[in-house]
Amino acid sequence: MKLIYFAWVRDKIGHAEETLAPPANVATVGDLVAWLATVSPGHAAALADMSVVRCAVNQEYVGLSHPLATGDEVAFFPPVTGG
């Protein structure tokens, strides 16, 4: 699974992307967030408050209950501030 991070989510995690293989019981975005928090203190800090983190799966905004599939591109980032 390809994981991509932007803005301060990336700063806290320490890198912009990585390929990880979560355990089989990670079925949703919420499961993934819980598992990522165990990967490193940086991951835990970045994803500690999901009310200020957005998720996109395959470049579509999704919620925590969204199901995950092998080969998904999953991105975590703060609320957007363009324009």
Partner: protein, 155 residues
Amino acid sequence: MAVRVQREDFDLAAELKALTAGDHRIGGLASFVGLVRDMADLGAGAAAPVTAMTLEHYPGMTEKMLVRIEDEACRRWHLSASLIIHRYGRLEAGDQIVLVACAAPHRGDALDACHFLIDWLKTEAPFWKLEETPDGDGHWVDARDSDTAATAKWR
């Protein structure tokens, strides 16, 4: 109908001229240009000087979202042409960040669609601003409740 995400600056005059060129059914051209301000709002009326900012984006998803936003505008209003250009990379105070332009037979369509596009883009397009202050610090701009409210009025 076009969307461009680019590091380079854009020539506002040339872009607007090209948008209406040769189409004499167009009665109105509305445009909005977002510029880098030299002050950041800190909330409660406070502000801090900003020397520059870096705009980061999610290549691929950005274009996808901008095209979707533009499609939505074309469904809601009768437009002859539209254009969104959004820059990324390091920009200095006074630099152009974004252009939204809509041309239509009637002014109301052009004006409303232009307003819709910039409001919607601000809450949907995956861009993030890192502001640099004179002391060399960088801080990520927080999303504003007022932007979310501005988008909500179009739902």
